[in-house]
């Protein structure tokens, strides 16, 4: 992991190139091909295809019930789609269980905070490094000497990530009892501890005010650099999406409504109708401001 050495900093992601098209690479980090899933009588997703290139931050937006979290669950393996494939770094992972996808480098946060609540923050950081642990379960249980040093290294690594996110003072606090916004940040720290190449964030900005969301945006951009991350995020906070995302997919009723650069998507008439609804003018305005600040030609 690059946290400790801090030397390896990749160039920023390929930015938008103005004409609305992305430079596709041969092997995108993530490809979901024609994913369809049905729960009983409810068609939750219909032929949804998503492509995420390396070092991009991709936004996934859409109204409630559009299937955003469902596609996350298909990508991470908690749901098995009836049709379609998931390719991760060129490899078909459609048949792998969630923990194997996590070990391959998919990190994820949950809408309702996925942490072990009875444990402390640092214990969560240790658990999250499960796949990276170099000793076997039995060796650990029987107290084989190398496991002691390995445990110390895990702890240092966990502490380093907490420090990087400014969460070090929470190290020994139990997760239960921390405020919601803090939990969201701790969860990002644990997701980073799984050493992901692809980070899937489910509403990272929920429960945050505009200024906190701003700070989150800065952080995501910095984390991408620091950890060489590719990020997909579900987010309702449109200005945040417009500001940090390189590309945006819009879901509605389980189908892909449109996709494109944040600037275009946000003006797309169907998006305005389906997603922004009555709030459209106000939200659009805010998004435009964000876009200007970002320095992208509107």
């Amino acid at each position: 992991m690059p946290v400790l050495d801090g030397a390896d900093r990749r160039a920023p992601a390929p930015g938008p190139d103005g004409d609305g098209a992305r430079r596709p690479t041969a092997v995108p980090v993530l490809r979901a091909d024609d994913v369809s899933i049905r729960f009983g009588g409810l068609q939750a997703l219909t032929d949804v295809s998503v492509r995420v290139e390396e070092f991009e931050i991709v936004g996934l937006i859409g109204p409630n019930g559009a299937g955003k979290t469902t596609i996350f669950n298909c990508i991470t393996g908690f749901y098995r789609p009836q049709r379609g494939r998931i390719l991760f770094k060129g490899e078909d992972v459609s048949d792998l269980p969630p923990h194997e996808r996590s070990a391959l480098g998919m990190g994820r946060t949950f809408q309702n905070v996925g942490l072990v609540k009875t444990e402390t923050v640092i214990d969560n950081m240790l658990t999250a490094q499960h796949a990276a642990v170099e000793y076997g379960a039995v060796a650990g249980t029987l107290g084989s000497p190398p496991t002691f040093g390995a445990e110390r290294r895990l702890r240092r690594q966990g502490e380093a990530i907490l420090e990087l996110l400014g969460l070090a003072r929470l190290r020994d606090d139990p997760v239960a009892g921390l405020p919601y916004g803090t939990l969201k940040r701790v969860e990002i720290a644990t997701a980073l501890a799984t050493d992901p190449d692809l980070l899937l964030l489910d509403e990272p900005g929920s429960g945050m005010g505009p200024e906190e969301a701003d700070r989150l945006g800065d952080e995501l951009l910095a984390l991408r650099r620091e950890f060489d991350l590719t990020i997909v995020m579900i987010e309702h906070h449109v200005p945040l999406v417009v500001r940090v995302c390189d590309y945006v997919y819009v879901l509605n009723f389980g189908q892909l409504l449109t996709e494109g650069l944040p600037g275009e998507v946000q003006r797309h008439p169907e998006v305005v109708a389906a997603y922004l609804g009555d709030e459209a003018p106000e939200a659009e305005e805010a998004a435009e401001r964000a876009l200007e600040e970002r320095g992208v030609e509107a």
């Binding site: 900093r9 991470t76 393996g77 908690f78 269980p97 969630p98 923990h99 996590s102 070990a103 949950f110 996925g114 942490l115 072990v116 609540k117 009875t118 444990e119 402390t120 214990d123 658990t127 999250a128 499960h130 796949a131 642990v133 000793y135 379960a137 039995v138 650990g140 249980t141 029987l142 107290g143 496991t147 445990e151 502490e159 907490l162 420090e163 990087l164 996110l165 400014g166 070090a168 003072r169 190290r171 020994d172 606090d173 139990p174 239960a176 009892g177 644990t190 799984t194 505009p210 701003d214 700070r215 800065d218 952080e219 951009l221 910095a222 984390l223 650099r225 620091e226 401001r289 600040e293």
Partner: protein, 376 residues
């Protein structure tokens, strides 16, 4: 909407105030020499009392302590399932009994040394528990509790009556290892067994397997997201619990010298061990060992106490009263003090390791209502 927008410059890091780990309060606390002396005294004093107790009393007292050690191992086995992993076993008489009869069989029928009996009992215990674990992957909660209850009964009524395995009503003989045939010497064997199990349990919780179990207790989803193989570690938890129980059974058998199917009933083993686990404190191995000791000593001294105060019915039925009292204690524990005796033993343990003495602590489950905690 006023906002200060500063895009991070290259190499820039997130904005919130940084605290480094080394600046955290509580780090670097070192007890004074007197503090260390007090801690050493706190360890040595009970040890000396224990030695005095064993040496100055009839052999039956050391046998009682051996019983306490066996119960402690059995309860630690339940703790792995109920405490760490959030599974349940109401059929632990099967776990313990299978260990006991296996060890007896290996020693007296296959004429192998005692240690081989213990090791085979450990392995067989693990295997039968994993089979039960395979069911736990398919049936959950209340329904799985029923399965374990049934498994206990099946073992009790059928398995332990197989003449070829258990010698039927006559009982299987399980001689003690040579050189450790007296009660006092055998107590040493049991204490060594308990110490080894405690060491393993410590490392279990301190390493990735233990963390994986605790994560999947609370949320299989979160565990899987952390990279934990939920099925694999559920089975691992059963294997560890079965291994502990196998050891407990082997020690149990040789303490009795002969074991019969009637020794392993629900009320005597499964329920008793579960109560000891709960009152001792889930995930509190110190509390569990402490309450095993209290439970056995209570049974030893209650008759004397009853005679002294002249209550004949308690004197005659002390065993029942101890069980009833423990059951009441278990209920009170669950309602008022979910950490059981661990409420006391855990801070003492941290103090012995050189921390400040404080009752509440950041870690552990002390009084913090986390969801999804599977208490029986």
């Amino acid at each position: 909407m006023a906002r200060t927008l500063e895009r991070p410059s290259a190499g820039g890091t997130p904005s919130p105030p940084r605290t480094t780990v080394s600046e955290l309060p509580g780090r670097g606390f070192q007890p004074t020499p007197a503090g260390w002396a007090a801690r050493a005294g706190a360890v040595l004093a009970p040890l000396m009392v224990g030695v005095w107790y064993v040496r100055s009393n009839a052999p039956v007292r050391s046998d009682a302590l051996a019983t306490a050690a066996v119960i402690a191992i059995g309860a630690l086995s339940l703790n792995v399932l109920v405490g760490y992993t959030g599974q349940i076993s109401l059929g632990h008489q099967a776990f313990i009994g299978i260990g006991a009869f296996t060890s007896a069989y290996i020693i007296s029928e296959s004429h192998q040394p005692f240690l081989v009996g213990v090791v085979v009992a450990l392995l067989v215990g693990a295997v039968q528990a994993v089979v039960l674990g395979l069911i736990a992957l398919r049936v959950r909660g209340l329904y799985f509790a029923l399965v374990t209850l049934a498994w206990g009964k099946v073992a009790e009524q059928c398995l332990f009556r197989l003449k070829s395995f258990t010698r039927g009503g006559a009982g299987a003989e399980a001689p003690r290892p040579s050189g450790f045939t007296t009660d006092k010497a055998y107590l040493v064997v049991c204490l060594v067994g308990l110490a080894l199990i405690l060491l393993v349990d410590w490392r279990l919780v301190a390493t990735k397997a233990g963390r994986a179990m605790q994560a999947l207790r609370e949320s299989p989803q979160v565990a899987a997201n952390y990279g934990v193989d939920v099925k694999g570690y559920t089975l691992y938890a059963f294997a560890v619990a079965g291994a502990y129980a196998g050891v407990a059974g082997a020690l149990f058998a040789s303490r009795r010298l002969t074991v019969q199917s009637g020794d392993f009933d629900f009320a005597g083993i499964a329920l008793t061990y579960l109560i000891v686990t709960v009152v001792g404190g889930l995930r509190r191995r110190g509390g569990i060992v402490a309450f095993s000791l209290l439970y056995v000593l209570g049974g030893e001294y209650l008759p004397d106490l009853a005679r002294a105060i002249g209550v004949r019915t308690i004197e005659v039925n002390a065993g029942y009263y101890i069980q009833a009292l423990s059951a009441v204690l278990a209920i009170l524990t669950l309602i008022f003090q979910p950490d059981g005796l661990g409420t006391i033993t855990a801070p003492v343990g941290r103090w012995l390791r050189g921390e400040r003495f404080q009752l509440a602590h950041g870690g552990g489950a002390l009084g913090r209502g986390g969801g999804g905690d599977a208490r029986p």
